[in-house]
């Protein structure tokens, strides 16, 4: 269970980007964060694994506050949080298999990690995961030769290699075509159920969120304006989530 409580963050003094953000995400469910551009979706997601240092609040993953963790605790917690990205962020010249094996690096000593010493079990597991995401034939291909959808699936396999409790997905389908989008989202939903993972996902596309998410968090200008199951998302709630700030509305009228 992920519990985020009263999270604040401001990048500069004038504008607060997150204001007392609280929500929960449960294992076995896909939780989608939706909202207009600049609402703070990415800031929330990156605070959860502390790639962004927030200002105040609590982030509890199975009752352990990641904000209080010291350097080595943070590494340990991060190792159990997989992350996939809009641009996949794989190492292009390496093979798909090597990129998946990178999911184990966080569990290794500095020395073994430096040399990339993987056990036979780990290699077999990586190959199995690639098979699971439908890329068995591409295991030994360089990642920069794969299509976007294939790279994103390598990214998912890399995240699974970490044996995660949670997978954070930062706009995972923003660069994908509709067919790859469906494939990737199907895999994520299936994973949440079969492995009882917490899947926390930032989405631009409302229709995808409504199709795939069990739980929805709506954010507007750094404030949570909706949290609840997908079916509770009424048109009024949607309007509140995607409401434009006053100043922008005025400019739009002027035009």
């Amino acid at each position: 269970m992920l519990k985020v409580i009263d999270l604040d963050k401001s990048y500069n003094r004038q504008k607060q980007s997150l204001k007392a953000v609280s929500f929960t995400a449960k294992p076995g469910e896909v939780t989608a964060i939706i909202g207009p551009s600049g609402a703070g979706k990415t800031t929330i997601l990156r605070s959860v694994n502390q790639l962004i240092k927030d200002d105040a609040g609590q982030i509890l993953l199975d009752d352990e506050d990641i904000r209080q963790a010291n350097k080595s605790d943070l590494r340990r917690i991060r190792h159990h949080i997989g992350m996939i990205f809009q641009n996949y962020n794989l190492i292009g010249p390496l093979t798909a298999l090597e990129n998946v094996l990178h999911g184990r690096l966080g569990a290794k000593s500095t020395f073994a990690g430096m040399l990339g010493l993987y056990s036979a079990t780990e290699k077999n597991e990586a190959a199995k995961l690639l098979q699971d995401v439908g890329l068995a034939d591409f295991a030994l291909q360089r990642c920069d030769q794969l299509s976007g959808g294939q790279q994103q699936r390598v990214g998912i396999a890399r995240a699974l290699m970490q044996h995660p409790k949670m997978i954070l997905c930062d706009e995972p389908i923003a660069s994908l075509d509709p067919k790859s989008t469906k494939l990737v989202m199907d895999i994520l939903r299936e994973l949440a159920q079969s492995k009882q993972l917490i899947i926390l996902i930032n989405l631009h596309q409302l229709d995808i969120a409504q199709t795939y998410a069990d739980h929805i968090v709506g954010i507007n200008q750094g404030t949570i304006v909706f949290e609840g199951p997908e079916r509770a998302l009424t048109p009024e709630k949607l309007q509140a989530i995607y409401r434009q700030p006053e100043t922008k509305a005025v400019t739009a009228d002027a035009n």
């Binding site: 694994n49 790639l51 943070l74 590494r75 340990r76 917690i77 991060r78 190792h79 949080i81 997989g82 992350m83 990205f85 641009n87 962020n89 794989l90 190492i91 292009g92 010249p93 390496l94 990178h102 999911g103 690096l105 966080g106 569990a107 290794k108 500095t110 990690g113 430096m114 040399l115 990339g116 360089r142 890399r158 995240a159 970490q162 954070l168």
Partner: protein
């Protein structure tokens, strides 16, 4: 459709293509021609006859390049000296690359704090600004003339050169790929060796090889100055002491052969890595 009626262009009575930049260029060229003529006419040749001097030059070139020979040194001596030069270049490149790789970590802005990166970069720029041959002479003051001063001096300059090349290659790795591994709890050194290094190996290889070519050329020059007993030293002795132009020609051909071989290897290496890319 509206047709625009154009007024006829009125030409000035005398159209000149001699624009201002062209006028300046002609003036400069004319001036240089005048200076050259003046210099040639008033040159103090001190008994030198241009015609005979030209034929001697032709004769010398003929001896050098059409009749190369070993002179007073033997083939085995010259070949051993050539190997010494190559080894000098190779050794200093390997040493330089090794040191440079680790220093470059500190000089790359995406890995090290800004103050450290800037300090290292400034120091390396300072070392690079002083030519290799001067570093060798500076070290020969400390260590005495000879091979060790040549090695240290060449290595020193190689490090500064390679740190710049390497750190810029490291900075070219996208920050997001590094972030992706950081987000999964990977430590610093595994990220360097598993993520950054595989991405930049072609660049590192090609920079290192260029430096090897430079170091080989420098080793020849440095050999003469520091008395490192390599091919540069024999070239210096043959041309300046024994005036044995047969040997000078031979040595030039040997150096040329090595340069050609290095070029071929470098093309092969790049081809090999680019194919993988």
């Amino acid at each position: 459709m509206k047709t625009v009626k154009q007024a006829p262009i009125s030409l000035p009575p005398k159209l000149s293509l001699l624009t201002r930049p062209r006028r300046i260029l002609r003036t400069v060229l004319g001036g240089l021609t005048l200076i050259t003529l003046y210099a040639l006419l008033t040159l103090n040749t001190a008994g030198l006859k241009i015609s005979s001097a030209m034929s001697s030059l032709g004769n010398n070139l003929n001896i050098m390049f059409l009749h190369p020979g070993v002179g007073q040194d033997t083939w085995s001596l010259l070949l051993r000296a050539l190997v010494t030069s190559i080894s000098l270049g190779l050794l200093t490149t390997i040493l330089g690359a090794l040191f440079a790789f680790f220093i470059a970590m500190g000089a790359a802005r995406n890995l090290a704090p800004a103050w450290l990166a800037n300090t290292i970069k400034a120091a390396m720029a300072f070392i690079r600004a002083i030519p290799t041959i001067l570093w060798v002479l500076i070290y020969s003051v400390v260590m005495g003339l000879g091979a060790s001063a040549a090695v240290v001096g060449l290595t020193f300059h190689s490090i500064a050169y390679l740190v710049k090349a390497y750190s810029e290659s490291i900075e070219a790795t996208p920050a997001e790929t590094i972030e992706a591994l950081k987000a999964s709890g990977v430590r610093f050194w595994p990220i360097v060796f598993q993520a950054i290094l595989p991405s930049i190996i072609p660049a590192l290889l090609s920079w290192t090889f260029i430096r090897f070519e430079i170091n080989f050329a420098n080793a020849v020059a440095v050999g003469a100055a520091a008395g490192a007993n390599d091919i540069g030293y024999y070239l210096f002795m043959a041309s300046g002491f024994y005036f044995n132009f047969h040997e000078v020609g031979l040595i030039v051909y040997l150096l040329l052969a090595v340069a050609v071989v290095l070029e071929i290897i470098s093309i092969q290496l790049r081809g090999h890595y680019l194919k993988q890319n």
